[in-house]
Symmetry: C2
Subunit: 396 residues, 2 copies
């Protein structure tokens, strides 16, 4: 098997083939979790008017220490079109309300004293106290968020606050998932038929990564697969599972040749997932994953998800860490072996599958272990490196 | 201010008031990210038939080292109703196809040699080689996943593989978000009006945490708020923002009294977010968050999200870590101060807001710092503890 591509070289080839990120203009509410493609500029001042930060009284500084007459209350939501405040007067005012013309500070209730129809103000009042001046948080035209920033819930609130109708972002990657195999049936009542598990699993993984996903199932039929691939026009990434080996019914390599795809590599020195194929097909980056579910999962974690996140300009390096083996790890043979594991605190439990088709034993995995070719048996208690999988697996 | 509830005591009261988790039966595809409420039992054997793991030949062990006659090929998706395999014969067979009656191993192509119409088998063949026996991964009736496990994409695939039509899970928490304030307008063209930023921000935070969210905006009007709260029937958690202080137009405390709510606490020794109110209102847990956006964000991070995750039986303790200050942190006064910060690698950049209403400066925060009452100024270079915020902030 000398000459097979090593896993790290394969990943580097995938990264080099990721298409350029697109850029679109979307309403802020549709941008959560996406990355800004351009600096965002404020459309309006924030706040749009001098705003009271406390419930209290809008006052003139000249009245510090004096008693003042109260005018009509200003509530949040009221307009600012009041008679200008004169010395000897104060407006009762509520948090969030516009400060009236002439007012130089807002004094909170608890710093005042009632005296008949008047109130007594404290001796010392800081100019501008408890007023957020118009544009104090952000001025119209100011670049308040930088290209490359992720849109968080707080970013969404800030965008609405500064009057943004749209944000320029790298959109969700569009992924077409095609599960191939004549044995795949929605209701596997017929002998020899099984349920498609790879399509839903991969769709869920890509959706968790922020992609929008379209799925189809196609039998082991070259013409149907050709038609299926030709029907995909708007996907950034196409992910096939099954049909990538060298068997009589493995139609993927032949169909890709007929479509003029540029195959970047086919087969990687790893298990599971040795038959992995990666190609450029027109504008699409195409992954041919093995049909064995665990192999499809590993290849999606290790090659497809980083590509999707890179396409969205999100962090794409998974978190790794070190922990202590709870059980013995068997020796490895000639290829790099990726093994699902459950990390709990500092302990690492390898979840040995029954075969590379098996997802039942490893379904709780939150990491993969990587065993180099020829690695010797590692007894329980050995310290080992793991790489996280899942939505919270990406280093910032 | 002696006698105000401390932040940790407030959080403990919130946890004690989280309602019991509900349990529902949902199709596996709707369970992603949810926690199993009961052990999941396999409905069918997996695989449902003896399955070939490789492309090759289904053979009899007695033929090891001999040449055998080839019968008709068995492809994936074919039925298993073949004439039983006799000594001297082999079926060509594809990965995923059902192994025919009588076959004792599958020998891959590359271990065989073509000899006219026959093929020569290797000398040594392991019994059962390259066959996953029926139920090898999981037997019908077996509890393949335990209560408390999170449904991952792999769990989804395993559930479909073992024929599960439904899974018993703790459902998404249902949250009703009510932004209060007469100044809130969808299009703030009128003077004194502003856009609602808290409602969309909180909705996004709770959706990121897996909750299903319904939002409404209500003016500072006790009757409207009363009607709004009475109209909520199916929410687990109600989150109000604004109107929780002691001002003339802070209608929340009075309306809660009229509704017979049990107020657990009102006001916490913290900034921002001192006016926080938490109550039981019938079956609902109710949070009255301040209307200042940053205060609402802090209270949602620190009190609401952990409650929602606990309700869903998800991990609810945020990740914390230590890093080195890039800028000086000012001294703190009498209450615990929570300050947004950006963590990059091991460096901690405090994002000092202009006021507790300000989300523009801190919008890239991925953590909060916590300063104890009376903490002295901390110069750049000081090591400090932070607590993560966001979807990937929860310790497992």
């Amino acid at each position: 098997m000398a000459g097979l591509l090593e896993p790290d070289a394969a990943l580097a080839q995938v990264f080099a083939a990721v298409p350029p990120a697109r850029s679109v203009s979307l309403p802020p509410g549709d941008c959560l979790g996406l990355v800004l493609a351009a600096d965002a500029t404020a459309c309006t001042d924030l706040p749009p008017f001098d705003r009271a930060m406390m419930d209290g009284y809008a006052i003139r500084l000249a009245d510090a220490g004096a008693a003042v007459e109260l005018l009509g209350e200003i509530a949040a939501g009221d307009g600012a079109d009041r008679v200008p405040l004169q010395v000897g007067q104060a407006y009762p005012i509520m948090t969030g309300a516009p400060v009236p013309p002439g007012a130089e500070a807002v004094v909170p209730h608890e710093q005042t004293r009632r005296q008949g129809q008047q109130i007594c103000l404290p001796e010392r009042i800081r100019p501008g106290a408890n007023i957020v001046p118009r544009a104090g948080e952000c001025r119209a035209g100011h670049a308040w968020a930088r290209a490359g920033a992720v849109v968080t819930p707080m970013t969404l609130a800030a965008a609405l606050g500064v009057g943004a109708a749209h944000l320029e972002v790298h959109p969700r990657p569009r992924v077409a998932v095609i599960a191939t195999g004549s044995e795949l049936a929605a209701d596997p009542s017929a002998a020899g038929q099984i349920r498609d598990t790879n399509g839903p699993m991969l769709g869920a993984m890509f959706q968790e990564a922020g992609a929008s996903v379209q799925r189809q199932v196609i039998g082991d039929d070259a013409e149907a697969l050709l038609a299926g691939l030709q029907s995909i026009s708007d996907a950034d990434v196409v992910v096939l599972t099954g049909g990538v080996s060298a068997g009589t019914h493995d139609e993927v390599p032949g169909v890709l040749r007929r479509l003029g795809a540029e195959v970047l590599f086919h087969k990687v020195a790893q298990r599971p997932g040795k038959p992995l194929l990666v190609a450029r097909l027109g504008r699409h980056l195409l992954f041919g994953l093995p049909g064995n579910p665990l192999a499809a999962h590993l290849c999606a974690c290790r090659y497809v998800l980083p590509a999707l996140r890179r396409l969205a300009r999100l962090p794409h390096i998974p978190v790794s860490g070190r922990g202590v083996l709870r059980t013995t790890l068997p020796a490895n043979s000639e290829h790099t072996w990726f093994l699902p594991a459950l990390i709990e605190g500092g302990s690492v439990l390898p979840l040995l599958p029954f075969s590379s088709a098996d997802l039942v034993q490893p379904h709780q995995a939150n990491a993969y272990l990587r065993l180099d070719p020829g690695a010797v048996e590692a007894p329980a208690g050995t310290e080992i490196t793991y790489t996280r999988i899942g939505v919270d697996a990406w280093a910032r």
